[in-house]
Symmetry: C2
Subunit: 369 residues, 2 copies
């Protein structure tokens, strides 16, 4: 506790960001991308912060056009909007491109390709590598059809996939298999396009689990990941990181007790933590989050076992033989999140705990679409 | 579909508010409070909108000090902050009171009462009527002790309870029983205080299910409820409202298909809908929401069966024999939310569909603490 920062002036609940851990996480995946010989295109859907984007530099991925607009205004010129494009959104894409932003979209149908071609917007074709959501199979006849429509307008940039199912698999070996599924699906799709005389300069893959576990990305040109900069309990639960790598936490204050039940009430409910219960299906259910003291040290077996809108119920994990520590009214605690993307989305700012100590900073976050 | 408003200029996903339904819901509970002879003190934790607060008028309840500050600045003078007070928050309460706001807090311990007494902040004592979260039992010896501390400083306002467990009970009969639990617990607590020579002018009860089902509130002075102005699928699932009463929906756009799986991909993922799966434990699991056409008509058996951050997967309910309708790329749909509080919190504004037709309005929402 001797190096604990003084957080008592922060109104709770509040989102804390441990800069040293974030920097370590960012450097770790950058080194991995270098070793694999691919370009890293970080996904900023989790961060939604121009300060964090500046640390990353280079090409980026976004999940909303609002992100594309904010990050372009902050100086980022090479942006991939990685959600299937609706034709109604193309005017906003065109407006950014007219301002000099190299904004690319993704799509998986002829109707979308025709709309993109009419709008003069370049696109990647989404490939389904694991049955998770959108995308064409690598051997789908529609792939070449879509490719021809885009290429006819000089707008075919390549192929993209995301193995979202990797979040449900545990351990490096399983994640490496998903990484190979991403690689082989996109490389087969690229070969199908090239075999039909079409260009496919970009072969883009990634998710946080697969990006860290990939051993060989032959044929791939770029790697994407988002939550890796913060990590969370879901990622720790599947073995992508350690709990000590989690850079994000929610600062909260004890507001009451129900001693007979072993409950400590805190002012972080689901509004501050999100409704995400991503660890519920894992081998260790962390409730709405794992509880640490104000210095960030995990308190053994203490979790947020229940959450109302502005109330969290902190208690020992079911079956625990640990002792409930004395946590008087007003005590500050930190909650590690199940899912950093969902928890961060509940907050308008990060309270940055600087890597070298020194004064805290407040970094704004944005939301919306 | 003939009276459907034109929503095609709204960028999706977006939060829609049906004014006619909201007004009907507001009027319904106002009439119920009148009939029961109690003051209605609506909870604005769900609305977080000064426009909606203005419609309600009168005393209000809030869940954050940010709400108290915004609503006081908008002209509301009688505000109850209904989350157990942390001593660190009393300076903000004092600042609002110094500006003329009659802001009251709640608490359930001697330590909190001593802090409130030192700060000169009036309080209600929280009573536990159903084991849901905080509060003292009506016969707890601490009740009179806490009452004496507050009364010694002239700050004892009364007692308050909230039967949050009523959300898990189905049907008017069950909710009426919870309403009676709220009434009897608070009235017993008030009698215990009065029996010790202490005043107890305010006896405050309520939750949306109990407020609608209460038959007799003898001894109670005020009634609180929040989600009732919008309603949602959780409330419909326990019989507090009909699906046609739900005033809030998320407008979304079809962005793709996985035809072999019967999936329609839309641009409302959990970021737009929230991670709330409140109907999962009910007899009809609505997934992440029930799907309507753009005019607001429910499409039989169509739900959001899966959600990624910015992708929703729309499909027929498991076991349905309905036909998946043709929903081409670009089609607009509306999603009714599981939990209005959680879904609304994901959005920065309401797109108001006015009761009498006429031009749409945009009403800002706020968040934070």
């Amino acid at each position: 506790m001797s190096h604990a920062p003084d957080l008592t002036d922060i109104g709770t609940p509040a989102l804390l960001l441990d800069e040293a851990r974030m920097s370590r996480n960012i450097d770790r995946l950058a080194a991995q991308a270098d070793a694999l010989g691919v370009t890293l295109r970080p996904h900023l859907k989790t961060a939604k912060s121009t300060e964090i984007a500046r640390r990353l530099g280079g090409p980026i991925t976004v999940s909303t056009l609002a992100e594309a607009e904010v990050f372009h205004a902050a100086g980022h010129g090479d942006i991939l909007y990685a959600v299937g494009i609706a034709p109604q959104k193309l005017p906003r894409v065109q407006a950014l491109r007219a301002q000099g932003c190299d904004l690319t979209v993704i799509l998986d149908s002829a109707a979308q390709a025709e709309a993109a071609a009419r709008a003069g917007v370049p696109a990647l074709i989404e490939i389904d590598s694991d049955g998770h959501r959108g995308g064409l199979a690598p051997d789908a006849p529609a792939l070449v059809e879509v490719g021809r429509i885009l290429h006819g307008a000089g707008l075919l940039r390549g192929v993209i996939t995301h193995a979202g199912e990797s979040y449900g698999a545990r351990g490096r070996e399983a994640h490496a298999e998903f990484a190979e599924m991403e690689r082989s699906a996109t490389v087969r799709a690229a070969e199908a396009l090239r075999g039909a005389g079409l260009p496919c300069p970009v072969v883009s893959v990634g998710s946080t689990p697969t990006a860290h576990a990939a051993r060989d990305l032959s044929g791939v040109t770029e790697l994407r990941a988002g939550v890796y900069m913060f990590f969370d309990l879901v990622m720790a639960g599947i073995g992508v990181c350690e709990v000590d790598d989690i850079a994000l936490s929610v600062l909260t204050t004890v507001i009451g007790h129900q001693q007979a039940k072993g409950w400590v009430m805190v002012d972080a409910g689901w509004m501050a933590l999100s409704r995400d219960r991503g660890t519920a299906a894992q081998s260790v259910d962390q409730g709405y989050g794992l509880v640490c003291d104000a210095a960030g040290q995990v308190i053994p077996d203490l979790i947020v076992s229940g959450a109302n809108q502005e109330h969290g119920i902190v208690s020992l994990r079911p079956g625990s033989t640990a002792m409930l520590p004395d946590l008087p009214l007003g005590t500050q605690l930190r909650i590690l999140p199940n899912h950093a993307c969902a928890t961060a989305a509940q907050h308008g700012q990060y309270h940055l705990l600087p890597a070298g100590g020194g004064p805290r900073q407040v970094w704004p976050r944005f939301g919306g679409w």
